[in-house]
């Protein structure tokens, strides 16, 4: 079965679909045993079950098709720990012909939805701000009982705290305000909103105060603890002074349901004005770090646990307080990669570690941090990356709040499903249950290890390791994690036997109900050196996994070390799986399911993820953040962009990502995930300039010109953040977006140009790379 078809069913891509039964052999594979998992992958056939899942009393695994059943005695054997479990009374009717959905062999993935607010009655709201409606953690039963007891309690929606940078220019701010107003207008009634604005001071807006506008100020330079923030905001709960008296939760107005404060928040947003201009020669004073702290403290104080987002809209770097990126004085420049390497970025490590300290707090309170940076300059996304990534937050770097990219993104984030629920999934956890013959090493992706250990957890940590359960602030239907496994040495593995892995993803649905999606899959152990290993190699998944590993490595190492590691791995990989005669490079062959892998690696090592030349630290952070959450297909586009050629000769065809694909009489559609380039050959551009496309006699030219644009729109429709579409002609300056990614097979040094374009570079071309690879691989 094709890997892609399998993915459509399982939501998983395995770097190896057949695992060698010994640990040494697994290590020798070079590409680790890993699974690219898209937990909430959209699937048309997903059964949604409105009852609680049946758990194994020992290992916590959910009942699944791999379980052995005994209908007569109404027991089931857990396929992971082999524990004997009895069916509860509700399963009394179970039988060969009457199976619950989770036992259907075709349903490797089922979803349990066991809290539906619609059923529990959304009647009148309780008066004040009691956000403690639901205790989180894993005690689901208490939730249902609680909601049953207090059916009058309104379901509190997710909380959104907008953190707005008022150093933004007035026009920009206007565009932002319009967007925010639109967002607020379209939020569900029960969603909570808060507003924080900042420049050199941080203002937390009181939305419940009617006499006048009221804000609480935080000094931009001071780092405030959570307790301080709450004290300043008056969120301190007075301790229970008398026994039996419920603690008084002070009424607060900083975070209110939209229904209660729509007017106030609208006014507050409308009254945001650009801060007065600062001294000439200086950047505006921005206390982004403190603003985030204040918003965080506010959410912590309000004990929102239905999921919440801190959405930071900024237009420049922090110049003040914790998280400072650069001095206010324009004479000091914003750090570049070179500065980081040379240690000339005085604030970088301090600010990064500040934000790293913020991460766990976000995680504990299930808060997502989003960064919308609309600036021509860097804003400090590199420093901010850690909390954004770990909380699963959204990062976008565009040039202006007025850009359609920004608008589309924001609207996409707040889009709703058919039932009117936000398409946002909060407060998720992923739990992995496996059979005893393998161990869990860790995960890469927008998640945080919860450090829950059992005997399935390996000591060999990769990425977020040391746990069988991860916390995800949020996830989308596309968020993809890569999980790493290893063979359990202590367990005698029989080749040919099966092992299974169960992914249990628990999350809060847009309607605030808790859902649990359970995917159970099985693969086989194979003997060492079995050809099944090579046959089960998924080069695309492997490339994605290696890319994640590479960028993880790149966080700590310099690019050249990462490249060396990649090369080294590739050479050894090639020499293991290649078919060659020792010391004869020309004899080197790779089988078809390996053949593209070296090419992926080639493009990876010269991609913006590894080679940071020409990118700012902010951009690099953004690219890596995106790569780290994108599925296999998306990752591959990022690594090796696609190139389609449109010509009069026929339908569009994919062409080599090579400079030789450029031709005067074709249009190229280039997609690197972040950029989509429509590149008109010089001849076509000339025709267009002469207006032939408007000439009815040249209908075909018009169609040719239209086709890539239509396709480009198709490409970006589901992609968030929306890529930048660049339309350019051959030899124009914008064509650099394309040229930079093409394989420089023809350069200024080429003796034989064949009339094609040339790329001025000293980079080695794919052919040279492959030649070297072959030469090195056959050395043994």
């Amino acid at each position: 079965m094709d890997f892609i078809e399998l993915e459509a069913i399982e939501g998983l891509r395995w770097s190896w679909n057949s695992w060698p039964a010994s640990k040494s052999e697994a290590t020798a594979l070079l590409v680790p045993l890993s699974v690219m998992c898209t937990p909430l992958m959209q699937s048309t056939e997903l059964p949604i079950l409105s009852y609680d899942p049946l758990l194994c009393s020992q290992c916590g695994a959910v009942l699944n098709p791999y379980a052995r059943l005994d209908y007569t005695s109404r027991i089931w054997f857990c396929p992971f720990c082999y524990k004997k479990n009895t069916f509860p009374r509700s399963y009394s009717g179970i039988g060969e012909t009457n199976l619950p959905a989770e036992l259907f062999p075709t349903y490797s993935t089922v979803e349990y939805s066991f809290f539906n607010p619609k059923l529990n009655g959304m009647s009148s709201p309780s008066s004040s701000m009691s956000l403690t409606s639901m205790s989180m953690a894993s005690s689901f039963s208490s939730i249902s009982s609680l909601s049953g007891l207090d059916s009058l309690r309104k379901v509190v929606g997710p909380a959104f705290v907008f953190v707005v940078d008022t150093c933004t220019a007035e026009e920009e701010l206007g565009a932002l305000k319009n967007e925010l107003l639109l967002v607020v207008e379209q939020l569900p009634e029960n969603a909570l909103v808060g507003l924080v604005t900042f420049d050199s001071m941080v203002r937390v807006h009181d939305l419940g105060f009617s006499e006048c506008s009221r804000v609480v100020l935080f000094h931009g330079e001071r780092e405030v603890s959570s307790e301080q923030t709450q004290r300043f905001l008056g969120l301190t709960r007075t301790k229970q002074q008398y026994l039996g008296k419920t603690p008084v939760i002070q009424k607060q107005g900083f975070l209110l349901p939209v229904s209660e404060c729509e007017f106030n928040i609208t006014t507050a947003i409308e009254e945001i004005h650009s801060s007065p201009q600062v001294m000439p020669g200086h950047r505006p004073l921005r206390s982004t770090g403190t603003a985030i702290l204040a918003a965080l403290g506010l959410l912590e104080g309000c004990l929102v646990n239905t999921g919440s987002r801190i959405m930071v809209f900024t237009s420049g770097p922090a110049t003040l307080g914790p998280g400072i990126v650069v001095d206010s004085d324009f004479r000091s420049t914003i750090r570049t990669h070179r500065d980081l390497i040379n240690g000339h970025a005085p604030y970088y490590s301090k600010s990064s570690s500040f934000y790293k300290q913020v991460s766990p707090r976000l995680c504990d309170a299930s808060i997502i941090l989003d960064l919308f940076a609309c600036s021509l300059d860097q804003v400090g996304a590199a420093e901010l990356k850690d909390p954004v990534e770990r909380s699963g937050g959204f990062m976008m770097l565009v040039e202006s709040f007025e850009s359609s990219q920004f608008r589309k993104c924001l609207r996409h984030i707040f889009s709703r499903d058919e039932e009117g629920n936000l398409k946002m999934y909060f407060d998720a956890t992923i739990e992995i249950v496996t059979t005893k013959d393998l161990k869990i090493c860790g995960a890469l992706g927008p998640c945080v290890s919860l450090h829950k250990k059992n005997n399935l957890v390996s000591n060999n940590e990769i990425g977020e390791g040391g746990t069988y359960m991860w916390k995800l602030g949020t996830l989308t239907s596309k968020t993809c994690f890569s999980f790493f496994f290893q063979v359990n040495e202590e367990h005698k593995v029989q080749p040919g036997s099966a092992f299974s892995i169960q992914f249990i993803t628990r999350y809060r649905h847009g309607n605030m109900g808790i859902r649990k999606r359970v995917t159970t899959v099985a693969r086989r152990w194979v003997a060492n050196n079995s050809p099944e290993i090579a046959a089960g190699f998924d080069q695309e998944a492997a490339a994605s996994v290696m890319a994640r590993l590479a960028i993880q490595r790149a966080e700590d190492c310099q690019a050249r070390d990462v490249i060396r590691w990649l090369d080294d791995t590739l050479i050894r990989f090639a020499s293991k799986f290649g078919d060659y005669v020792q010391e004869d490079p020309s004899s080197f062959r790779l089988s078809s399911n390996f053949s593209l892998y070296p090419q992926f690696m080639y493009y990876l090592r010269r991609s913006q993820f590894i080679d940071v030349f020409n990118s700012s630290p902010d951009e690099t952070s953004f690219f890596r953040l995106m790569l780290n959450r994108e599925g296999v297909v998306g990752s591959l586009i990022m690594i090796q962009p696609t190139l389609l050629q449109y010509s009069f000769d026929g339908p569009p065809i994919p062409v080599l990502l090579d400079v030789r694909s450029i031709s005067p009489d074709v249009i190229l559609l280039f997609d690197s995930y972040f950029h989509v380039v429509i590149h008109c050959g010089s001849k076509i551009a000339q025709w267009r300039k002469l207006g032939y496309d408007k000439d009815p006699n040249h209908e075909n030219l018009r169609k040719l010109l239209e086709a890539p644009e239509v396709d480009a729109e198709q490409l970006i429709v589901d992609r968030v953040p929306v890529p930048k579409i660049i339309k350019c002609d051959q030899h124009s300056s914008q064509a650099r977006f394309l040229l930079a990614k093409l394989n420089p097979s023809v350069t200024q040094n080429s003796t034989y140009t064949d009339g094609s374009d040339i790329i001025f570079t000293d980079d080695l071309s794919l052919q040279v790379f492959i030649d070297h690879l072959q030469a090195l691989a056959v050395q043994g």
């Binding site: 203002r203 006048c212 506008s213 804000v215 000094h219 300043f232 006014t267 801060s275």
Partner: protein, 1003 residues
């Protein structure tokens, strides 16, 4: 030009019972009724007929209503010190021509006779016989009309001031308590009684009048030793304190005859210099009109002794203090010439190049005017070319009379660029209001908001007036009042440990831009915080930081806003509770205060409280920044808002300056020892005054660093560089030149009781926090005793040791000292806060207000009606003794700050009904608001209160007292002459003083 517009519009009382006053005409003070009323005019009445006819051309002769004969100028040589007994009453040998008294002297009591001992004069002497006062001038000098004639045409618009007032004056005056302001509004020319242009026309009235021919005395007559030393003394009872008969005295002293103050209410006309010599000024507490003829008006600067002892020894021997009381922005009498402004252009005022003294009338030009000799350091400077002028035959510059700086003791120079560090800052008024639960519930917040709301209308218009507002409980709330916003934006600063200010957020906005928002806000603040339940516990912890934080914001503001800031007056309202002691508990406040001062922020604190608030600590800030503490204890939402409003209003509308620096220079031989008042001192020579206003006085103590030459003059110059409310930078230069003497008796003769005693007070006030009370009391008593001893020892010729002989000028010193010892500040039974307030109040108080503050004035008000003929508003003063307080009477006692109305137990209920609308004493309300009812008695009471308010520039806290009540106890605690737990009776005290003197004499 006046350097400022004196306090603006009338300060209408906010409550209905204080009808807004009309402006008294400028000559109000001169009206004969008021003159007659409390003037010791008995002398004049009796003396006038005996007085020789005034010489023609006497300037004062125009003042028909003045029962006094013309003063000084015609008889400069014979002029005696006003505080001395008037020698002319004593049948003197014909050695001297009959002198005239130019100012109120002690009147009868000062006749030089041991009056008390003799008991010869009737008791009634203290008070003018009814009807005598309003008598028309006994005999207007025949030349009067002629003298007047010349001035008339040029001042055609000016009414014949004194004359006309006879007809129009008194009844029209409902006398607003702050009528000083409206008076000053009058165009100065009409208000100027002298009629400026007349001066040059008066023969012999030029600034240095040539000695009157025929006068046998040389011009330096002033310094001549008086021939009759024993005349300048008051002796008390020969029976007092015979040695060896310690207890004897009391019974033998007639308490009615011991010295007591006789308030003078007649307007004294005073020329600061006559015959080229300093004219001793009238007592500070008297009512006088000054003509600046070279020396500054005594309002701006006066010395404790009007002759400067030549040597330190002499001063030490006398036991007296040598100090200056400087009140540079004092409000002049409406009839006085305003201070003239001189603009020297870019070069700035002419100054001595060595000591930097400013040009003044006493700089001597020599060498055909090419050079001048500095009267401070003696250095000879080149006259700047453009300032050169030839000398006349008299050795004066020919242009001396045209140039104010050469003929006036007080002038204002326009400051040139070099006097400005930067452009004058706009005036920022920042109001800080307490909105904690307590303040809200007591009504203090509402009162404060109401007061501010009314007051903003009185703030000067224009782009230079900026306002800001903040409130605080356990957090601080700032308000952005920018007009662009739909509604005011409240900015809460929650971190009270480490306060910060929202910068760049339009906290301080031009008044014109935010008036609407501001009014709206002030109206809503009390309700906005109505539900403020700032947890009490949190508040207690926050309090200490609270008053810090209350202030810090401005600091930071100034720190950051270098461009717009800030000689703001920030006004803090209401604090609650704190810690103890009279010394500031906290160095941080002191440091903060200094920072304030550095940024030219003047802080006034209005404390409305019902508990202890630690004024001692809080007051550091206003004291250091030139501000003031106002204290409303216990705050009452019923009776206090009116006072709060009036205080606030006076605070912002009174004449004032910002960003001031002051220095006093003295002639060689004398140097400044210390400055004392509300200011910040960062350099030893200068004092920094972030804010200075007309009520603030700085005491400057002096010391000798060399001997002075007898017969020379010693000059003092106070230079105050400040920014006016209108944003002009000015230097007010006040120069006083006094003769030097080496004769002890001259010192006693020229000693000035009021100033001396104010000096005592301020010293006591500064000592109280750091010394045991008993020690301070002893020191004050000893100061008094030493002076008297010195006089007794060296000046009194009376041989009988049984007599207590008091120098005439200082005869009230024992009484005042007694009052001081019994005052709130020196009593142990008072509340700490009240004592702190007392101390602080005194630190900047002016001399005229200092005396009544310690020795209050008491009048009877139950019989206001009966004095129908007497048109003075203030009835005769009653001495502060229980025996003068009858059960059937109602008495009003005021000290310039508080006003107690004591209602006897058996007062006629009809009177009660008329005055207070109650039928019996038992119905006296605890919180009293003076109402005007429709009957003459009530009207008179209101008029009286308003008159007092006007005189004291204070609204007064009114309180009703009755016997057998804490309020009654309070009232009786002011009965200084009584024997009480806090001290001896007056008679006993005199005996005590006498005995001490005798002991020291004999030892």
């Amino acid at each position: 030009m006046a350097s400022y517009v004196p306090p603006g519009a009338p300060r209408p009382a906010s409550n209905a019972n204080n009808p807004p006053s009309s402006h008294p005409p400028p000559n109000f003070r001169a009206n004969p009724n008021s003159l007659a009323d409390n003037l010791h005019n008995l002398n004049f009445n009796s003396a006038a007929p005996r007085a020789p006819s005034p010489l023609p051309g006497t300037p004062f002769s125009r003042q028909a209503t003045q029962p006094r004969p013309p003063s000084g100028p015609p008889f400069p040589p014979t002029f005696s010190h006003p505080n001395e007994p008037s020698p002319w009453i004593v049948p003197p040998p014909g050695a001297r021509p009959p002198p005239f008294v130019s100012s109120a002297s002690r009147g009868l009591a000062s006749n030089g006779q041991p009056v008390f001992a003799s008991g010869a004069l009737p008791g009634g002497q203290w008070f003018p016989p009814l009807g005598s006062a309003p008598q028309p001038p006994v005999r207007p000098p025949p030349t009067m009309a002629m003298a007047r004639a010349p001035p008339q045409p040029p001042t055609a618009t000016s009414r014949p001031l004194m004359g006309s007032s006879l007809i129009r004056a008194p009844p029209v005056q409902p006398a607003s308590p702050f009528s000083a302001a409206p008076q000053a509004r009058q165009p100065p020319t009409t208000a100027y009684p002298y009629g400026q242009p007349t001066w040059p026309l008066q023969p012999g009235q030029g600034a240095p009048p040539p000695p009157i021919t025929g006068s046998p005395q040389p011009p330096r007559m002033f310094g001549m030793p008086p021939p009759l030393p024993n005349q300048s003394m008051t002796s008390v009872s020969s029976a007092v304190g015979q040695i060896g008969a310690p207890v004897a005295g009391a019974s033998k002293i007639d308490p009615n005859q011991i010295p007591r103050p006789i308030p003078s209410s007649s307007v004294i006309l005073h020329e600061t210099r006559q015959g080229n010599q300093a004219n001793p000024p009238p007592p500070a507490t008297s009512d006088y009109i000054v003509r600046d003829t070279g020396n500054c008006s005594p309002r701006y600067m006066r010395c404790t002794i009007n002759q400067i002892p030549c040597t330190d020894d002499l001063l030490t021997t006398s036991g007296m203090q040598l100090a200056l009381m400087v009140q540079p922005l004092a409000i002049p009498h409406p009839s006085e010439e305003t201070v003239q402004v001189v603009d020297f252009g870019e070069s700035g005022p002419v100054r001595c190049s060595r000591c930097k003294g400013y040009i003044n009338p006493f700089m001597k030009f020599i060498d055909q005017g090419r050079r001048f000799i500095c009267n401070f350091c003696g250095f000879t400077d080149e006259t700047p070319r453009e300032y050169h002028c030839n000398l006349g035959p008299d050795g004066r510059r020919r242009d001396a009379d045209e140039r104010p700086e050469l003929c006036r003791g007080t002038v204002e120079f326009v400051a040139s660029r070099e006097y400005m560090v930067r452009d004058p800052m706009p005036a920022v008024y920042f109001f800080l209001i307490d909105v904690s639960t307590n303040a809200i519930q007591t009504g203090a917040t509402a009162a404060a908001c109401g007061a501010i709301n009314q007051v903003i209308a009185d703030l000067p218009e224009g782009p230079r007036t900026m306002v800001g507002i903040a409130t605080f409980d356990s957090t601080i709330h700032f308000y952005n009042l920018k007009r662009a916003l739909q509604q005011p934006l409240m900015l809460v600063v929650p971190d009270v440990q480490d306060v910060y200010t929202p910068l760049q957020t339009d906290l301080v906005v031009q008044l014109s831009e935010c008036r609407q928002h501001l009014e709206l806000l002030l109206e809503s603040i009390p309700t906005m915080f109505l539900e403020n339940r700032t947890a009490e516990s949190a508040f207690g912890a926050a309090t200490k930081s609270c008053h810090q934080l209350a202030l810090v914001p401005f600091l930071q503001e100034t720190l950051k806003e270098e461009l717009t800031s800030l000689q703001g007056r920030s006004i803090v309202l209401d604090f609650q509770e704190a810690h103890k002691l009279l010394q500031p508990a906290d160095e941080t406040l002191k440091a903060m205060a200094i920072e304030f001062a550095e940024y030219q922020v003047c802080v006034d604190v209005f404390i409305t409280t019902q508990t202890y608030v630690d004024i001692a600590s809080i007051a550091v800030i206003p004291r250091t920044t030139g501000g003031q503490v106002y204290y409303y204890y216990p705050f009452s939402a019923v009776s206090d808002p009116a006072k709060l409003y009036n205080d606030l209003r006076w605070n912002v509308t009174r004449p004032q300056g910002f960003e001031a620096v002051m220095r006093v220079r003295c002639s060689q031989g004398i140097e400044v020892l210390e400055y004392n008042g509300n200011f910040c001192k960062r350099m030893p020579t200068d004092v920094d005054l972030p804010g200075i206003d007309c009520d603030k006085t700085v005491m400057v103590t002096l010391k000798h660093d060399d001997n002075l030459k007898d017969g020379s003059e010693c000059a003092f110059q106070c230079a105050l560089l400040y920014t006016t409310v209108n944003g002009q930078r000015r230097i007010r230069v006040t120069t006083l030149s006094l003769p030097c003497t080496s004769i002890l008796s001259n010192l006693f003769r020229s000693a000035e009781l009021d100033t001396q005693f104010a000096c005592f007070l301020k010293q006591a006030a500064s000592e109280i926090p750091s010394r045991p009370l008993l020690l301070v009391k002893d020191r004050m008593t000893n100061l008094c005793i030493n002076i008297l001893l010195s006089y007794r020892k060296f000046c009194a010729t009376v041989t009988s040791s049984g007599q207590l002989i008091l120098p005439e000028a200082l005869k009230l010193l024992p009484l005042y000292t007694l009052a001081l010892i019994k005052s709130k500040g020196l009593r142990t039974d008072g509340r700490i806060d009240e004592r702190s307030f007392w101390i602080n109040y005194l630190s900047s108080i002016s001399t005229p207000l200092a005396i009544p503050f310690v020795h209050p004035r008491m009048v009877a008000i139950h019989d206001l009606n009966s004095k129908e003929g007497d048109q003075s508003l203030v009835p005769p003063v009653i001495s502060l003794s229980t025996e003068h307080v009858n059960d059937g009477g109602i008495y009003l006692l005021e000290n310039g700050e508080d006003c107690l109305i004591y209602i006897g137990n058996s007062v006629d209920s009809d009177i009660l009904q008329q005055l207070f609308c109650i039928s019996s004493v038992d119905e006296i309300p605890a919180q009293f608001v003076l109402q005007q009812y429709d009957n003459p008695l009530s009207k008179k009471l209101n008029d009286l209160v308003n008159e007092i308010r006007r005189q004291r520039c204070s609204y007064l806290r009114l309180k009703l007292c009755k016997k057998g009540d804490p309020s009654g106890m309070l009232f009786f605690s002011y009965m200084i002459e009584d024997k009480s737990s806090s001290g001896l009776s007056y008679v006993e005290f005199l005996v005590h003083v006498h005995r001490q003197i005798q002991l020291k004499m004999s030892s």
